[in-house]
């Protein structure tokens, strides 16, 4: 288990006074202090870790957020920002002496401008909520994490979330124009704007993926894009992971960037097929789902090219969808992958390393060996175009030894990712989960440099202080 910093006794002792003070800043139902109502905030998508906070505040305006931040800053109280709490790395995990600022009540869409191709939304608007608000005009917000129904744009900004279509459209960082935020000292500032490039230091870029450590985001200006005329998927199954990897290389090498390029290994194919009956080939060692966009004629042309490339790699099966329904059937299994694994094993850890795509066969082989060694099953889904690997490690939560083994197995996979030239996290963030592995990827002086930048924003280390960086350097 990953340790949390000890709570400050003087803060715990002042709990009632703090809650009373917060109630004057955020009136009505905006402050939660009683134990049962704090319970839903004790964890996030990394549910093995739980810690109820001191209190939860649910502001409805940027000014209220600023008032709470000024109060907490003035009184040395730690703060944990929270969106929907779907973080898989424990990014929204509270501390016993911290106030959680939840952004879910800030859920208004403030502006939509199709000609300028932007939308201004509050931090608590869900990812899918943005697309829903613009799709009647054929537009969409591009980054599409699988959690898009629930996760909020403020959380997406702070995790720099990706999705299945980021090979073509980029991750959150590539789809933002500006932010309104409250600094750790309680000042309201705007960074970026409603235009493309802002002269001066790129605060927008630095804030993106900063995991709630540099400020509280209250408003986000996103780019919205006109959708393609249509999209269609194909499925290609191969006799070996190496062969499938070579096919991916050949597709990219031919100059085609599919809008999605997903890879599943044998255990994952089996789990998904049992769950979704999508018609996946059970004798395949590896399977690709490839999606292209454009008019029907363009789709035909691109899929024919890709099919021709895949045919050179001795495929077990090649299935090109001829309709939207067939595309959906192909995606059905992949989209339900987490749920499918959940049926085999109710408890699993979803890992998130990135590797150079050429290392895939080696990495999968090593993961297979580790699986035997730890005695835990693993299924792999992989955003093959960009090297983002999601091994799902299955364990038994009722058995502490099984959970410990799963954590160790996961850490070994991430170390392997770094060893082959990749990184600890491609889209889920470091949070608490990977905090103590940061030294695997960074030298001490490199971590010190990053921490110094955190200090520049938050001199007292009050904002999400227990995330991302190993605890030993946490100022007391």
């Amino acid at each position: 288990m990953i340790p949390l910093p000890p709570p400050k006794p003087e803060i715990l002792a002042r709990r009632d006074a703090i809650i009373a003070a917060l109630r004057t800043l955020v009136p009505g139902e905006g402050v939660i202090g009683d134990e049962t109502r704090l319970k839903p905030y004790e964890t996030d998508g990394l549910s093995a870790y739980r810690q109820p906070p001191l209190a939860v505040v649910l502001p409805t305006t940027t000014e209220q957020v600023a008032a709470v931040m000024r109060y907490c800053h003035g009184n040395g109280i730690r703060v944990v920002p929270r969106g929907a709490g779907t973080s898989l790395s424990g990014g929204a995990l509270p501390l016993a002496d911290a106030v959680v600022i939840g952004l879910m009540r800030m859920n208004r869409i403030l502006e939509i401008d199709f000609d300028d191709r932007l939308a201004v939304v509050e931090a608590g608007v869900t990812n899918l909520g943005i697309t829903k608000a613009v799709e009647h005009e054929g537009f969409f917000y591009a980054p599409d994490p699988s959690s898009q129904l629930a996760c909020m744009i403020g959380g997406n900004v702070n995790m720099n979330s990706g999705g299945a279509h980021c090979l073509k459209y980029g991750v959150t960082a590539n789809n933002l124009l500006g932010l309104k935020l409250v600094t750790p000292e309680g000042e309201i500032v705007e960074v970026g704007g409603d235009h493309l490039d802002t002269a001066g230091y790129d605060w927008l870029g630095l804030m993106t993926g900063s995991e709630g450590m540099l400020g509280i985001v209250t408003e986000v200006t996103v780019r919205i894009l006109r959708g393609p005329e249509g999209a269609r998927a194909m499925l290609a199954a191969f006799k070996g992971t190496e062969i499938a990897g070579a096919a991916v290389d050949a597709i990219i090498g031919s100059g085609i960037i599919p809008v999605a390029l997903e890879f599943m290994d044998k255990p994952c194919i089996h789990a998904c097929e049992a769950f979704a009956h999508a018609g996946y080939p059970l004798d395949a060692e590896a399977m690709l789902i490839i999606e292209v966009e454009g008019s029907v004629a363009e789709q035909d042309f691109l899929l024919a090219r890709i099919k021709e490339i895949c045919a050179r790699f001795d495929p077990i099966s090649l299935k090109v969808a001829t309709s939207a329904e067939e595309s959906m059937a192909i995606w059905k299994g992949r989209k339900g992958a987490f749920g499918a694994v959940g049926r085999i094993s109710p408890d699993y850890l979803c890992m998130d390393g990135t590797i150079p795509t050429g290392e895939l066969p080696f990495v999968l082989k090593r993961i297979g060996e580790m699986s035997t060694q730890y005695g835990l099953q693993v299924a792999n889904v992989f955003h093959a175009g960009d090297g983002n690997l999601h091994p799902l490690i299955m364990f038994d939560a009722n058995n502490p030894a099984s959970f410990r083994a799963a954590e160790d197995f996961g850490a070994d996979i991430l170390k392997l990712c770094v060893e082959v030239g990749g990184c600890l996290t491609g889209e889920h963030g470091v949070g608490v989960e990977k905090r103590d592995l940061m030294h695997v990827q960074f030298q001490p002086h490199e971590l010190a440099q990053q921490r110094a930048i955190k200090t520049a924003f938050d001199p007292a280390w009050l904002l999400n202080p227990h995330k991302v960086f190993p605890l030993e350097a946490l100022p007391q």
Binding site: T183, L206, K454
Partner: protein, 384 residues
């Protein structure tokens, strides 16, 4: 000038420095922003060479001083490109040397394709740099998706050498497009031109360039893709755009030359005594901004990025600068005094001032990376 040919040499130079250093690549953009007051120059021009290129992984690494043309030629051999299309500004600045990849990242300069493919910083995967303590720091890496720790790549990109000396750059590279064509729309006025560009950019046809030449005025929309797609989309767009004015088609290679000149801002380059500003605004604010500038002085203008990027050339005077500033503030945009004789650059704010709360953070971030204030003092803002 000190121009070491190894990263260790850069580290030594930083450790030995007692006075501020001017940081440069080839000095092709020395005329950019505010003049730096520094006794010595530290250049990365000899830190040259491509260190990693994996076409199928869409990644290329090069030492910071590698000339951009060398990188572009290497990519072209494998049918790839730097998608943001960085400008070649040597005509604009009247210098011979090509830009270096370090200089391009340090200035975060992107060309016409930025509207569709993103900016230089969007394609920056990893950096190595030497901070003011003489430490070599890495951020990002060589993989396409990476959210491990704070993203110092974004912070260093566009920081104009004020936060660290970049020694190695890793970029995402993309397949070069097979075919291209440009649709030219003869529009009656700027506002109609912007609407024509918006119509293209809100179509499903993946426009990769959307510029407006005020002479005419002419709206230009570029398509790039496989030949079949370009043919099909050009036909559809022609119909859609006809309501804005007469549409004609420019085929490759004329289209390529046209976009090269837009990329490099050739149409506004009127000679070294003129000042050049580069403004970033919301496209719908462009017509009012253009009108205000044309009223203020004899402005030469070029609009790119669907109207979101405005190049302005005019007299190198404080009055003209104030007019640009006022028009940009009215448009809620951002500006850079891109080129000007030194007295003007030293006298005015070459980029917009920051709100006090951000300026305080900026000063602390600068101190966190360069505690002794060695790198490019005063380059971006007086005292920054």
């Amino acid at each position: 000038m000190n121009a070491p040919d190894t990263e260790a040499g850069i580290v030594d130079a930083v450790l030995a420095a007692r006075e501020p250093l001017a940081i440069e690549g080839n000095g092709s953009k020395r005329g950019l922003l505010r003049p730096v007051q520094a006794a010595e120059t530290l250049s990365t021009r000899n830190l040259s060479g491509i260190t990693l290129y994996k076409p199928t992984e869409m990644v290329l690494s090069a030492r910071a001083g590698t000339p951009l043309p060398e990188i572009e030629a290497t990519l072209a051999e494998r049918g790839q490109m730097l998608a943001p299309e960085p400008p070649d500004t040597h005509a604009l600045f009247g210098v011979r040397q090509p830009a270096t990849i370090g200089g391009i990242v340090a200035t975060n300069l992107s060309g016409p394709r930025r509207i569709n493919a993103g900016s230089i910083r969007d394609h920056l995967l990893g950096i190595r740099f030497v901070n003011g303590r003489g430490e070599v720091v890495r951020s990002g890496g060589r993989v396409l998706k990476n959210v491990t720790g704070l993203d110092l790549c974004k912070l260093l990109a566009g920081s104009h050498g004020t936060l660290g000396v970049l020694t190695e750059i890793t970029m995402k590279v993309l397949p070069a497009t097979e075919a291209t064509a440009t649709l030219k729309v003869a529009v009656p006025d700027i506002a109609t031109g912007i609407r024509a560009l918006s119509a293209g950019l809100t179509s499903p046809y993946g426009i990769t360039g959307a510029a407006l030449l005020p002479m005419g005025p002419t709206a230009l929309l570029r398509l790039e893709d496989f030949a079949e797609s370009v043919t099909y989309r050009a036909a559809r767009l022609r119909e859609d755009l006809a309501r804005f004015g007469e549409v004609s088609m420019v085929e490759a290679p004329e289209s390529r030359l046209l976009w090269r000149s837009i990329r490099d801002a050739d149409p506004i380059n009127g000679g070294p005594d003129h000042a050049i500003w580069r403004l970033s605004i919301r496209p719908s604010a462009a017509p009012a901004l253009v009108a205000a500038l044309q009223e203020a002085f004899a402005a030469r203008l070029l609009l790119d990025w669907g109207g979101g990027l405005v190049w302005v050339a005019g007299p190198a005077t404080e009055e003209a600068h104030q007019a640009v500033l006022a028009a940009t503030i009215a448009a809620r945009g951002s500006y850079t005094l891109f080129r000007a004789p030194e007295p003007l650059r030293a006298a005015v704010a070459v980029i917009p001032p920051e709100a006090p709360a951000l300026a305080a953070i900026a000063a602390r971030v600068k101190a966190a990376l360069d505690p002794a204030g060695l790198f490019n003092p005063g380059r971006m803002r007086a005292g920054q």
